[in-house]
Symmetry: C2
Subunit: 477 residues, 2 copies
């Protein structure tokens, strides 16, 4: 297997300057939005609009062409018509030859291969040939470009600059899917983002190279990918199998059905490939394939925040019977997870802190603290569960009784969770079933690295994904 080297990819994420070809002065237009977002997010302010019809856009000098920008530009955003993209490609080549910069290009423009026409195909080929000839790298065409939350890069018209920072890097063939993910991140404050790459037609930079790059990117804790289909699946899977030894890769792969495959093809001209083969290959490579959009979202954010379980023995800590039943069903359904075994000493200890009517260990691994629970009981019980070596992970479920205060509950949970040193930590997923009534508690837990969920089965599926990945890591370390 050939070694994949991610050449010049860092130019996309750490550019000295960004040129926006096609920048517009009309508020609301995508090409104005691109400039505004790039400007707002830029750490150093080296953003250069290019538009021969304008002298200035919102305080920035506007240049007639790429060649006249005096400062170094590493990243170029192409948002002009496909024909103009081809023309500008020659400027890029020239600039690269003359000044040596212009190493990275994101082509936002659409109207290329994804059109399914000869014209689109030819335009894409000519543009690509010109740019790649000079060693520059291209993301797109028909994409939304890149975001780097830490390095202050944003070439999109759709990702607001105030997306919260975190360890999830998302790589997507669908710009809309990835930007939705980032909007959820911002609105729900449940997930933090590091890098965002919208790949579009994937004419040059692809999943394989980005996997390689992000494997070594320190701030990326989880790689989350949306995939229509890929040309060189084998090479991608080979690389993924190496990357997953270092960090989790979560994938949502479209084209499960032949009709879905047809849609994928009209979207990014990609071939979805056989679904079962992908399933097997992902599993073998330690890639977690999400079963739904919700699963993708929750799994990625939880991997970012929580340690891996050391095994598959899960404790259910609850005050609500029905949701717990649903949770346990989903947890053990695939056979990968099981309920933990409570030792007699543990049960005796637990009984000291809970009310007599509490259910401790019926069935084994299950605790119902009942509605007579107090804030303190949460801390006491969690301390015991965190210390117990026969428990690999905890799912906690509640609709807190009215007399329990949001802050007090959150503090008690954190006290229990943080009672053991980092190396002894195990995943704790909290299902908060009471809507807005527990909003403050959720916020405090999330801010302190404890993921919260609205639905019990969502949490169970995430725990199974963590168990699966953890098993892969143990077998491949």
């Amino acid at each position: 297997m050939a070694e994949v080297v991610a050449t010049n990819i860092d130019k996309f994420f750490q550019p000295r300057g960004i040129a926006i070809v096609g920048a517009s002065a009309t508020p609301g237009k995508p090409n104005n939005q691109i400039l505004e977002f790039a400007k707002q997010m830029s750490l150093h302010g080296n953003v250069y609009p290019v538009n021969p019809k304008l002298d200035e856009i919102s305080g920035l000098t506007c240049y007639p062409d790429l060649l006249s920008i005096p400062a170094p530009i590493d990243l170029i955003v192409l948002s002009v018509s496909p024909r103009n993209c081809v023309r500008v490609a020659y400027d890029i080549k020239k600039r690269r030859e003359e000044k040596g910069d212009a190493g990275a290009v994101t082509v936002v423009a659409a109207g290329f291969r994804e059109m399914g026409t000869e014209e689109g195909e030819n335009l894409q080929q000519e543009m690509m040939a010109t740019i790649t000839e000079c060693g520059a790298r291209i993301i797109g065409p028909n994409c939304q470009g890149v975001v780097d939350a830490y390095n202050g890069v944003n070439t999109t018209f759709s990702v607001p600059p105030n997306t919260p920072k975190g360890g999830v890097s998302i790589v997507s063939q669908s710009g809309a899917f990835a930007t939705s993910f980032l909007r959820w991140a911002r609105d729900q404050k449940l997930v933090g983002i590091n890098k965002f790459v919208s790949l579009g037609n994937m004419a040059d930079v692809d999943f394989t190279e980005l996997l390689t790059y992000m494997a070594d990117d320190e701030k990326t804790k989880v790689i989350a990918m949306y995939m229509d289909g890929i040309n060189d699946a084998r090479s991608m899977i080979d690389v993924a199998a190496k990357v997953t030894r270092k960090k989790p890769v979560v994938v949502i792969k479209a084209g499960k059905t032949s009709m879905g495959t047809n849609v994928a093809h009209s979207h990014t001209a990609s071939i979805a490939g056989n679904n079962d083969i992908y399933n097997g290959a992902f599993r073998q490579a330690g890639v977690i394939r999400a079963q739904s959009v919700a699963d993708f979202y929750h799994t990625a954010r939880t991997f970012d925040k929580q340690p891996l379980p050391k095994g598959n023995r899960i404790c259910i800590l609850t005050v609500v019977g029905g949701p717990s039943t649903i949770c346990v069903d989903e947890l053990v359904l695939t056979g990968e997870a099981t309920l933990a075994h409570f030792s007699e000493p543990l049960k005796k200890e637990l009984a000291k802190y809970l009310v007599p009517s509490a259910n401790i260990g019926h069935p084994d691994g299950y605790i119902d603290m009942t509605a007579s629970v107090t804030e303190k009981m949460h801390a006491d019980v969690l301390k015991l569960l965190m210390q117990d070596d026969d428990i690999d992970g905890i799912i906690f479920m509640t609709t807190p009784p009215g007399f329990i205060k949001d802050e007090g509950l959150a503090e008690a949970i954190l006290e229990g969770y943080n009672s053991v040193p980092q190396a002894k930590k195990k995943p704790l997923l909290s299902v908060m079933l009471a809507g807005n009534a527990v909003a403050k508690c959720r916020t405090i837990l999330e801010e302190n690295g404890l993921p919260t969920f609205e639905y019990p089965d969502d949490a169970a599926r995430v725990m199974v994904n963590m168990i699966r990945y953890s098993a892969y890591r143990r077998q491949n370390s």
Copy 2:
């Protein structure tokens, strides 16, 4: 098959007066909450606290026992210790013999059969024998009682009085699950509630009788049930098969696995039964079994708001490729739904209103309006799709471009949807992928009866559920 007659069930939902035995004056205590909620929600104010230690609670005369309440009371809430419940049972019997009222009892108290002890079993038996002997009906024990949003009844300590009104009636063995559902209803404003019944141990009133009752309840458009397990599954299924000829029944059934079954047993002392047998029985009876909590929630609320599809031919209308691929995958996965066929005249008409680069019918049944879409295009295209007899339902997906205004988009969608008379309506599910950025649009659509979704696969699953139920109705009418 014996005819099920729902005797005296209306006393729970239309009581002349409600007595709350065990009412407390201490704010925050569940027994105070029950009284407050009952008072706040009561249309006529006939709420009577019973507590021998108090003369008055928050402005209401407090009675020492049930027998001393001078006004008619049809519904009694028992929230005292199990032993006291047994004692009060004799008062209920006496009152019934003397005054003829007291026909309905909800037993909130826990500590009965669900304890798995001889004592709990004996207490339940004695209480039940005493109350049922005199012809009164019981919901519980170990339950949260009932809510009727239209008739102003609330016997719970957990369902806030301001739950939005609607056509979904929920019947649940899990109080926590059902109250969470109602909290989502209130917080997200996506679903409206008619009746709520928390069944608990189900010692008397059960699913079968409530199905019978709600089938004839005009304001109930959808019956949504959470089930641990039931004693007389055959009778329930027989009744459900009749009810589903009139209105949809959506079920989430716990105990898919043996571990889940064990939890269900500890919860409500019920036997979950064989999962595959339930699957088959539900399907044959036209009962929609939800696959997840999200599926349950979204399916119930959509049945309430939308007409049934007349067939299985679905049109995908979108501006976002990736989410649409996920949606189509999920839509056609079970083989029950398919993409619609666009006639040549329809395609020509569509092309008149869309930009040249729009994708009309690749694949068949699929339209990508592209990011060059306008508000008006939504109205124009939806009009054509609503009128077309070869399309049975529409899933619309968007992250609206920045220049499209929330209100304008919502109005255009409504204009398109409402361009045909009621009898010609077909389901239109809208997936709004842009988080809070489309919050206003979602609110307007929801208020006008158009359900909105965050994730494309959620909408697809709901559409499949509607198609399945519609097919059942056509085969059993």
